[in-house]
Symmetry: C2
Subunit: 197 residues, 2 copies
DNA sequence: GTCTATAGTCTGATAGAC
DNA sequence: GTCTATCAGACTATAGAC
């Protein structure tokens, strides 16, 4: 039986853990800091999650569903350019709405993806291979210019996630402005020009 | 007086520190691991650098010179498209030749740039403002299409650094192949199409 | 210059009172 | 469920022998 208070505390802890893990990485994060951010004692957060690792694992599992959803929505029957730009838009929305999740993922990959290699070489790779196949089909049908479909996908990741992962840098360069200001229309232009036949 | 052995040990330590800091971030890195990678004892590496912080600082200082050089080479008198593609190429070379430096920088910015905010809002911002001005001049002269020059610079950073920072992910998706395979010609195509008037 | 030993602090996790 | 108290180990850094 899970009470309202338990659910609230669990979600507070996960939110605090996301805050700290996404900024410091797994090893750099401490339970003390997570507990302080959550407003709970250290033994108490360990009552809800067995270990530091379990907290991190819970975050990664929740993250992957959200992270892979946009690519799953690619429709082989749709208009190629609109499908790809739509994918880019959904990824950019993730950077806007879930920047901490983006940084959590970035931290993991920077560290060599020690806790994500199974998911990346399994689910994600399969999904990317399938999507690259769809894009290559469009290219072969003359609906898109000649482009390496894998690099096309990587470049969408790079361009959209950059606004979340390097947001601190952009903010410092643009006098504190929202990093994503003007990003939508810029990236729209980029992919419109890139994908025109 | 600095001996040959001292210079060799200093550079061994810095190399080991780069290896560990770039993977684990500042707080996640430990002197034990740096010492082990360097093949020296922990007190010994602290004989060469006063503290963990001093090691990190030395790496950041060396990094910034290398990191900013390509943008400084932008020539207002040159051919606009070739200048920008040349800048992109030099940045991509940095990802190829100095992937650990790229990840060290990425780690810092992910953490909110606590040890780099002065350099970013000072030197780097000034350099970006100046470069954006040059690019805007080219646009106003009709030599480039209408594009936000700041986002153009950010997109060069995003696309080139992605191959170093997310190399682990790309390697897992592409069956262990060199992440940069095909990147040169792909990015050349991207910017050729983007910057044509 | 390099080592062993260790000081003093922080870390993840547990015990046990309430 | 939540707390205080605390453990064992890891951490940065220093002392002192050689």
């Amino acid at each position: 039986m899970t009470t309202r208070i338990q659910r609230r505390n669990r979600s507070r802890i996960l939110d605090a853990a996301l805050e700290v893990f996404s900024q410091q990485g797994f090893r750099g994060a401490t339970l003390d800091e997570i507990a302080a951010v959550a407003g709970l004692s250290k033994p108490n957060i360990l009552y809800y999650f067995d270990s530091k690792d379990a907290m991190h694992r819970a975050l990664l599992d929740a993250l992957l569903d959200v992270w892979l959803a946009p690519l799953r929505a690619l429709n082989p029957q749709g208009n190629p350019k609109q499908e790809i730009i739509g994918y880019m838009r959904r990824k950019l929305e993730l950077s806007r709405d879930f920047p901490r999740e983006s940084r959590l993922f970035a931290n993991e990959v920077l560290q060599g993806a020690p806790r994500l290699s199974d998911e990346i070489s399994g689910d994600l790779k399969a999904l990317v291979d399938e999507s690259a196949g769809i894009i290559q089909g469009w290219i072969d049908a003359g609906l898109l210019p000649q482009l390496d479909p894998y690099h096309l996908i990587f470049s969408i990741w790079a361009l959209t996630q950059h606004y979340a992962d390097f947001g601190a840098q952009i903010r410092l360069i643009r006098d504190g402005a929202d990093p994503l200001e003007g990003a939508d229309s810029y990236l729209e232009t980029v992919f419109d020009r890139l994908l025109s036949v």
